[in-house]
Subunit: 361 residues, 2 copies
């Protein structure tokens, strides 16, 4: 049965955002005989030169957005910080997948936490913080160490600050610019894991093996697959991700980051964050699984059947941050190392320049 | 030790030819942070829209060729029927890899056969045929059935005709347009196999597992890897390919097609054809091996170290010819089927529209 909303090879995918995720999405789309039109606000971004077409314009340029949407068959996005109004605007012209509702929900940490805990899924203790008074009350309830985060536009450790015993709360609040925030209890986790999964237009759900993530200075350093967690915990992690995807009527690839914690009944899971897009912790699928997260996302948003998520074997993915990229030649020399370079001209500190996946034999 | 002829990420690769092989080369180059400039004589070809830049111009347009070469760091090609003069011209401006000499040699079946047999490697009985008289003498020596082939510009069964008992030789010769030709003895082969391999700028040589090919109406239908041949025969096939690559001082991916035959000392191999480029029988490496033939070719022509050729497991690759492509949705539904669609607008009979690789578990 073919869904009338489903596309066919030859269709044109609109991708909002021009970074490495957009680049890898465009490369995956090309394998399936699809063309991409990238819409981004920045010149020279990595996705531009592998796409059939690109528009460089502000995210609130309604005439550029309207032309973009008119020329494509479906719109998706490669990062979640595009303005919700942009997604809403595009969605009036062509289907935006995942939906603007998903985008709005995951753009606000408080709304996301309320949503996840509303599903009966565990999250860290959290409290709404609109002003310094609310912060004092939140600290009284949640204690310290805890983390004050802006509700919106945080990533890779930006827009957050750790509250220790003795931290001046007013200073901490001001350090985030006095924005609407959320206080989260510090989780003494045993491991950080993520489930990368896809839900098709027909509701089909498939997850890859759970990955175990190590961050360095708030930026993902390595993902090891499979995660070193018991089988039943991995199954629960995938089940939680499926419930989240279904509750969102999600279409596309999503990633759910979780903490593995000691609980009263043994190991438990707390959801930390939902990323409504392909995710850095799923990059290993390009070389280590039958279907990559990028192809799967394209399949899902086009209404195609999903592909097999089976891994070829255990893998470790390592990000190449800043001048890590200088080791490219040594990495190419390592047998079983699959190197990806994003084509960014300048290797600034903290900038994701590429990644390498080590396939174990 | 870095070779001074070696490039680095950020370099620009010139690809002559705009078909699906060029498309897959450009996609592989993008993974490594390289840009591609495609030069092709035909509008709307598959490689154009995935390349950073494209020039559509005749292959003898020296000013377009000169501009193309000036803007890239290395030139390679995706099909062997580009005029040798084009390759020579480009090579005066930027390195062409594999070399124009390789191109000239493999463009002429007679020169290629002389070269291979000169290495002491077996080939089918063959004879030079410049005119009908020479054809009569060749048939007297080689017998029938045998195959009359034009020396130049044949592919997928084009430019050849089978000589049976009773065929009119003059008619056969005229049917190929009276071109300089070669008569080849018909080989009662037990199997057709090919070795796809790469040689780096530093002389490093790596082959993938031998593939077993089945043709349908002279067009490759399936490649099964590994081929159903004894281990020692597979090793000999790889060794022959290595000797050929070394004798050519080859840089890049090449494919050597061979017949498996019964010989006086058991199974033997006769070389049928050398393809100085990525090859249809190596398409399975995109999904079934650590490094694809496309990435390997890019690595080699850039002077990068070669990648591991290990297969993830047994595979079967099937070409999608003409309206085979209409089954795309069913193929996407098959778990373990990796589908590639080349983005050609019209599914003409005999036209390669895509391929699918079945990964066996």
């Amino acid at each position: 049965m073919s869904d009338e909303r489903a596309l066919a090879p030859g269709a044109r995918i609109g991708i909002v955002g021009g970074g490495q995720l957009g680049r890898m999405l465009a490369l995956a789309a090309a394998r399936l005989g699809l063309s991409c039109h990238v819409y981004t606000s920045g010149e020279g971004e990595p996705a531009i030169e592998v796409a059939a077409k690109a528009t460089v314009a502000p995210y609130d340029d309604e005439s550029a957005l309207a032309r973009f949407a008119a020329g494509v068959d479906v719109v998706t996005y490669e990062f979640e910080n595009i303005p919700a109004a942009t997604a809403e605007f595009l969605n009036k012209i062509k289907p935006v997948r995942p939906s603007p509702r998903v985008l709005a929900l995951t753009q606000d940490r408080l709304v996301e936490k309320d949503f996840v805990s509303g599903l009966g899924i565990g999250v860290a203790a959290y409290a709404r913080v609109d002003d310094p008074g609310a912060l004092a009350r939140a600290v009284a309830r949640i204690g310290r160490p805890s983390i004050l985060k802006t509700r919106r536009f945080g990533y890779d450790g930006k827009g957050q600050t750790l509250l220790k015993e003795g931290s001046d709360l007013a200073v901490s609040f001001r350090s985030l610019g006095g924005q609407l925030s959320i206080l989260e209890g510090f989780v003494p986790f045993k491991a950080e894991v993520s489930v990368v999964a896809a839900r098709g237009l027909d509701g089909e759900f498939l997850a890859w093996d759970v990955g175990e993530n190590v961050h360095d200075n708030h930026i993902l350093d390595t993902t090891t697959v499979p995660a070193h967690i018991p089988e039943d915990l991995a199954r629960r992690a995938a089940d939680m991700t499926k419930r989240i995807a279904e509750a969102l009527d999600y279409v596309g690839v999503l990633a759910v980051e979780m903490f593995v914690v000691d609980g009263p009944d043994g190991l438990g899971l707390l959801v930390n964050e939902i990323a409504p897009r392909v995710h850095n912790s799923g990059h290993w699928t390009l070389d280590g699984a039958v279907t990559s997260q990028f192809e799967q996302h394209i399949r899902a948003v086009c209404g195609f059947p999903l592909g097999a998520t089976r891994a070829h074997g255990p893998v470790v993915m390592r990000n190449l941050i800043g001048d890590d990229i200088d080791s490219w030649r040594d990495l190419l020399r390592q047998r079983g190392a699959c190197l990806h370079i994003y084509g960014k001209s300048e290797a600034r500190p903290g900038r994701k320049m590429g990644h390498v996946t080590f396939l174990k034999t």
